[in-house]
């Protein structure tokens, strides 16, 4: 088989549509527009280190981190329940867990808008209890709730797939040696499930830190995240240079969090993407 010819459409395609666009972002990121054309400059990055933009970066990382922690706390027990081998209808339950993921991401976020709004279900339920309506939508908590709701399966499924592979005789051995069920969980199950936990954390943190939709719909534009900043620069402000610089910052952020994951994977299994 002549590899050269058969994969050349792909190589050409990816050069035009993947490599070249990334180079464009790099170019715009390290230049500024002057009257005489583009000038090499790090001004865009300097601008990013102004307090208002650092606040946005900090907020993105903080909200994504809180959502990841909540997903882990809620998701780990759920993964354990699903992985229980004695469970009847296990496959159906796992399928039931996956189905909401197949629904359009925007619709899942929109669903929470209708629940949280001032005239929505939760508030009309509260008014039955004679509690005055409270502002639930367009708050920071609403944004976190949206992230947890959308990304919870990304935490549960990797942990679940590691848990079902754990050799049951290991648990029995621990019990035979006198460990109670809490010790088995702490000393055997949890350490063995770490790879699943790590990939769950990355799979929740990465989309949460780059989203601009959840913060726009559930935060109402008051909680600008780094994604919203990029969207604004390109679509409303038209400052491509600054927008590209922020995108480069975002890529670096993603590379760092992936570096964490692959470092861990290498220590454990010696196989990673990098």
């Amino acid at each position: 088989m002549k590899e050269g010819r058969i994969s050349s459409p792909y190589i050409i395609w990816m050069t035009i549509f993947i490599v070249f666009p990334i180079l464009l972002i790099l170019f715009f990121g390290i230049t500024i527009r002057t009257d005489e054309g583009f000038k090499l400059s790090l001004e865009n990055f300097q601008r990013f280190f102004e307090p208002i933009y650092l606040l946005v970066l900090w907020r993105s990382i903080r909200l994504a981190f809180i959502s990841t922690v909540i997903c882990l706390i809620l998701g780990y027990p759920m993964a354990m329940i699903l992985a229980n081998k004695d469970l009847k209808m296990k496959n159906t339950l796992v399928l039931l867990f996956v189905i909401p993921m197949w629904m359009n991401f925007l619709l899942r976020t929109y669903a929470w808008m209708t629940l949280l709004e001032r005239g929505g279900i939760i508030n009309s339920f509260l008014s039955l209890l004679r509690i005055p309506p409270i502002n639930l939508l367009y708050t920071e908590e609403a944004v976190i709730l949206g992230m947890v709701y959308n990304f919870l399966p990304f935490m549960v499924l990797p942990i679940y797939s590691v848990l079902i592979k754990i050799d049951k005789s290991l648990l029995e051995a621990a019990e035979d040696l006198g460990a109670d069920s809490y010790t088995v969980l702490r000393k055997v199950i949890f350490p063995l499930s770490i790879p699943g936990v790590i990939s769950g954390i990355t799979m929740v943190f990465m989309p949460a830190v780059t989203t601009f939709v959840i913060s726009r719909l559930l935060g109402g534009g008051q909680f600008t995240l780094i994604g919203n900043l990029i969207e604004q620069q390109f679509l409303f402000v038209g400052d491509w240079n600054f927008g590209s610089a922020i995108s480069i910052v975002m890529i670096i952020l993603i590379l760092i969090s992936m570096g964490f994951m692959s470092k861990y994977e290498k220590e454990n299994e010696g196989a990673g993407l990098w």
């Binding site: 088989m1 590899e3 050269g4 010819r5 058969i6 994969s7 050349s8 459409p9 792909y10 395609w13 990816m14 035009i16 549509f17 993947i18 070249f20 666009p21 990334i22 464009l24 715009f28 809620l74 759920m78 329940i81 229980n84 339950l93 399928l95 039931l96 867990f97 909401p100 197949w102 629904m103 359009n104 925007l106 619709l107 929109y110 669903a111 929470w112 808008m113 209708t114 629940l115 005239g119 929505g120 279900i121 508030n123 009309s124 919870l152 780059t210 601009f212 939709v213 726009r216 719909l217 994604g227 990029i230 969207e231 927008g243 995108s247 975002m250 890529i251 993603i254 992936m258 993407l273």
Partner: protein
Amino acid sequence: MVMSYLKKLYAFIIFFFLYAPIMVLIVFSFNESKSRGSWDGFTLKWYIELFQDRQIMSALYNTIVIAILSSTIATAIGTAAAIGIHNMKQFKRSMVMNLTYLPVLNPDIVTGISLMLLFIFLKIRLGFLTLLLAHITFNIPYVIISVLPKLKQLNKHIYEAALDLGASPSYALRKVIIPEIMPGIITGFLLAFTLSLDDFVISFFTTGSGVSNLSITIYSMARRGINPKINALSTIMFVTVLLLLIIVNKRMSKTNIIKE
């Protein structure tokens, strides 16, 4: 005993958390009143309005046409690329694979704006064509990732055997290699098709005024506030996905039984 009840309760709460919003959305798509707080009686008027909405119907048409075209083209390019990559030398292969993982790992928003910059740079008007090109671009890697494992499982010698028996390379490719890796190709195609149907972020940046897909339409409607037509639309989409999953599951279990 107590533990098992606690587990059931916990699983129930999580499932409630996952499904309650979707169920509310579905129930209120049949609600007479436009407000979400009260139930004013059963109606199908939002569904009728949905099908009369020109904008939504054209978005639906775009979504389906783009999903079919982009996944077909991506499958063709991606399968050929996978066969080529499989036969590359170590160094070149890891170079090309790193390139392939780039759009998978890059945040969607970065892929989206980088493609937007490219189209503006090349002076291609943003619209249907750019949307299609963008979808093909982000679909190809998923096809390659689905096809490559099948190629690795393939016995090297059957291709050589076909050549020894007098088949030309292209004939051997069509009659031996392609049928062997077919399951991977189909998985890749389905994955590409679903990703294209569902994509919002990349489409949002690579389309121009006038052309939109369902996700973009939903976003612009939701940004303006609550709209019962979206409820009707989500009900239809949810039921469609559910039916598709049930059919696929049934087919899979049937073939499993036959194999056994």
